[in-house]
């Protein structure tokens, strides 16, 4: 299922919860893990100098430095690299989102795994040169599923058995569903299909009556059944639900109430909206808030 995983990490505490999930998946599903670290962001025009993400100092990158950083990353994860799964370590220089995508283009992983917002820790170096967070850019452009672990809570995780698939009935959502089915079959999971109706006046332009809401719920349930149920029957267990509210909140709540260990959603915001994930689209909101890992599917 996840033969090759690209784990993009800052190799600091900010990525620790993502690391926990990465190593768990690699161990449980015999994946080969590529640990990828962007060590510095270019500065000083055309020169070879970068700003080191950890020390925030200007450093001249040469072979020794690259070897040293690679060793640092290895040491940081030493206790996890116990030989129970294959791993490689690569380091690179550049703007993180672009370099993660470049690495993905080269090694063609089945899954990219990244931590969520790195917060203040390395913000000044990683985020300075570009609008839009690393996460948003990678999720938007990646050709494979992107698994994000944002909150520490999302990383205390025993494996995959219960997937929440959030749909908005778009074409990209259909692709996300294909992926959810693939995972569920391969790993014998339950799939809970969920759709949230956005009743915020900002979205609807008016305050909906309860009859209107309930009408929409019925329609959405019919849609889910028609669109997904024939294939869901291939699984041992599944469920279908619709709720009204603020979509990302409803998904997070639904996943929590159902004790989901993975949320799968489509990412199809056309533009990188802002450099603040809190203002991003639904999937970004879910990523930021969820108590379990979230997989975003783009194409």
């Amino acid at each position: 299922m996840f033969k090759k995983i690209l784990f993009a990490t800052s190799a600091t505490q900010a990525s620790d919860h993502a690391a926990r999930v990465a190593f768990n998946i690699a161990k449980n599903y015999q994946s080969s893990l590529n640990i990828f670290h962007v060590m510095g962001v270019p500065t000083r025009g055309y020169s070879q100098v970068v700003i080191d993400v950890k020390t925030k100092e200007e450093v001249a990158v040469d072979e020794d430095y690259t070897a040293w950083v690679t060793e640092e990353v290895r040491t940081y994860y030493e206790k996890h690299l116990d030989g129970s799964f294959e791993h490689t370590i690569d380091v690179a220089v550049g703007f993180p989102a672009r370099e993660i995508l470049r690495q993905a283009k080269t090694i063609k992983p089945d899954l990219i795994l990244i931590g969520g917002s790195t917060g203040d820790e390395d913000e000044s170096v990683y985020k300075k040169n570009s609008a839009g967070s690393t996460l948003q850019k990678v999720a938007k452009a990646a050709k494979c599923p992107v698994l994000v672990v944002n909150r520490p809570a999302a990383s205390f995780w025993g494996g995959l058995s219960n997937i929440v698939f959030g749909t908005d009935f778009s074409k990209t959502s259909d692709k996300a569903f294909d992926f959810a089915m693939k995972v569920a079959k391969a790993l014998d999971c339950e799939v809970n299909v969920f759709h949230a109706i956005d009743i915020t006046p900002l979205h609807t332009g008016k305050i909906l009556t309860q009859d209107e809401i309930e009408q929409q719920i019925r329609e959405s349930l019919r849609k889910i059944r028609a669109r997904y149920e024939p294939r869901l029957k291939e699984l041992k267990a599944y469920s279908m639900d619709v709720a009204e509210g603020i979509p990302y909140m409803e998904i997070v709540k639904y996943a929590r109430d159902n004790m989901a260990d993975l949320i799968i959603m489509a990412h199809h915001s056309r533009k990188v909206v802002s450099d603040d994930t809190r203002l991003g689209g639904n999937v970004e909101q879910v990523i930021v808030r969820a108590g379990c890992p979230v997989i975003s599917i783009n194409k």
Binding site: G45, Y46, Q48, V49, A60, L101
Partner: protein, 462 residues
């Protein structure tokens, strides 16, 4: 020691040579060896006799030492009005001396001259605008850099940069395959949002041949996608050459005359091969100067023009907006105070001040654009021009040089700076890093894309 292992008079012509020099981190050994480097005075004098033409000789001769150039130089202003920073002094005490002494100068003199040539002049040519005789010190410094390069007295990064052009015909180790591959990758990444988006490679007789800066390929390839998107939206018939795609020239900053010629000829060959109606370069100032303004002379073109009409990106963008090829949604125009950095290399050196201001009229809500003072052909260098940005040895001096631009920006009250030039963009980024004045900076492409009216037939299917 006449010739060092790292520091010597030999240009770098191989990838191995580049790697070897790069392995001398920060050029520590390189600069140590430079202290021992011999000067070939005969060669130096012979070169001067062959290349120092009447204009330079006259300029050096007729300078009245009136000092009008002093205040025109931002480096003089920002360095406590040190008399040693007066442009006339700077050139007379370096190039003037070398000529006076017929090339018989010593190592210490050459190292001091190197410091003056790369850390006390950005070749912004502002002094030439104020000299009553029209003496342009910037041009003479470009010439002096050539003499220094020949003798091996050139900052480490620029020796490498010039070597990159010799080996890769690009300012960084980006091969022709890397270029095409990266451009195609970027277009693929954006084609869902912009159906029909392609990168036409090596198409003959296109209306536009587009050339870039290798750093876009290496570090921020989104810029390539953005260029493709804007050409696509404007319905242009455009192409990129698979060879001769690099418009910039660190060789020009380095004073490596032979590499300047090699580099620009690679672009001209592409023009001759593909026969485009026009060549358009990316948002870069020195690239335009190298390929469009000075390049024809390096390549020995008698008419002083590139093989195809060549315009700067801002000229194309202004034209596309003025003629309605690209339409802006007025509700999406910039509605905050915004200022514009005039790039010396195409504003002062090529008079393109109107193009950028035309663009501003389209993309900024009336009342929100604030000019820097002074501006247009009187604007100051960003502080990092002429190679200054990338030289580690002169980083301290470069950071002082940024103060002029910092204060100019602060005086506008704007928090957003449009910088349609790679070098200016870098310097402004660095000045924020250094002085933290809370500004943002941008090229034009991403800003324009956000506010475009997308024609019905180019919209993505929902």
């Amino acid at each position: 020691m006449p010739e060092g292992k790292f520091c010597n008079k030999k240009p770098i012509d191989t990838a191995e040579g580049i790697n070897e020099l790069l392995s001398d981190t920060s050029g520590n050994n390189y600069y140590q060896e430079m202290k021992e480097l011999d000067i070939d005075s005969d060669l130096l004098w012979k070169t001067i006799q062959n290349t120092c033409k009447s204009r330079t000789k006259t300029w050096l001769e007729i300078c009245a030492h009136c000092g009008m150039c002093a205040e025109s130089c931002f480096l003089y202003q920002v360095n406590g009005r040190d008399p040693k920073q007066v442009p006339a002094y700077k050139i007379q005490s370096t190039l003037g001396e070398i000529i006076k002494r017929k090339g018989k100068v010593d190592n210490q003199f050459m190292r001091d001259t190197m410091e003056t040539a790369w850390s006390k002049c950005t070749c912004c040519n502002r002094c030439g605008t104020y000299c009553p005789h029209g003496i342009d010190t910037g041009i003479m410094f470009s010439y002096l850099r050539g003499l220094l390069y020949q003798q091996g007295f050139v900052p480490w990064e620029l020796k490498i940069g010039a070597g990159m052009h010799r080996v890769y015909r690009a300012q960084m180790d980006v091969t022709d395959e890397d270029f095409v591959d990266t451009f195609e990758w970027m277009v693929e990444e954006y084609e869902d949002d912009y159906p029909g988006l392609t990168v036409p490679v090596d198409v003959e007789n296109a209306d536009i041949m587009y050339t870039v800066n290798a750093r876009e390929v290496k570090h921020y390839p989104e810029d390539l996608a953005e260029a493709a998107i804007l050409f696509h939206m404007a319905g242009e018939n455009w192409t990129v050459p698979s060879k001769g795609w690099e418009q910039t020239s660190l060789a020009m900053f380095a004073g490596d005359w032979a590499a300047c010629k090699m580099q620009v000829e690679s672009v001209y060959e592409a023009m001759e091969r593909l026969k485009p109606a026009r060549m358009i370069g990316t948002e870069c100032g020195h690239a335009h100067r190298a390929t469009v303004i000075e390049g024809p002379y390096w390549a020995g073109r008698k008419n002083g023009q590139p093989p195809a009409e060549s315009i700067h990106y801002v000229e194309w963008l202004a034209e596309a907006l003025n003629t309605g090829k690209l339409k802006i949604d007025p509700s999406k125009r910039i509605k905050e105070l915004v200022t514009l950095q005039d790039s010396c290399n195409y504003i002062r050196n090529h008079g393109l001040k109107k193009a950028t201001r035309d663009i501003i009229k389209h993309i900024v809500e009336p009342g929100y654009f604030v000019e820097m003072s002074p501006n247009k052909e009187h604007n100051y260098c960003c502080g990092g021009g002429g190679g200054f940005n990338g030289i580690g040895l002169f980083r301290k001096q470069r950071n002082i040089a940024l103060l002029t631009k910092r204060d100019q920006i602060l005086a506008t009250g704007a928090k957003l700076v449009l910088a349609p030039c790679h070098n200016c963009w870098d310097a402004i980024r660095d000045l924020e890093e250094e002085y933290e004045i809370g500004i943002r900076w941008s090229f034009l492409k991403p800003i324009v894309i956000k506010m475009l009216v997308i024609p019905e037939h180019l919209k993505p299917e929902e």
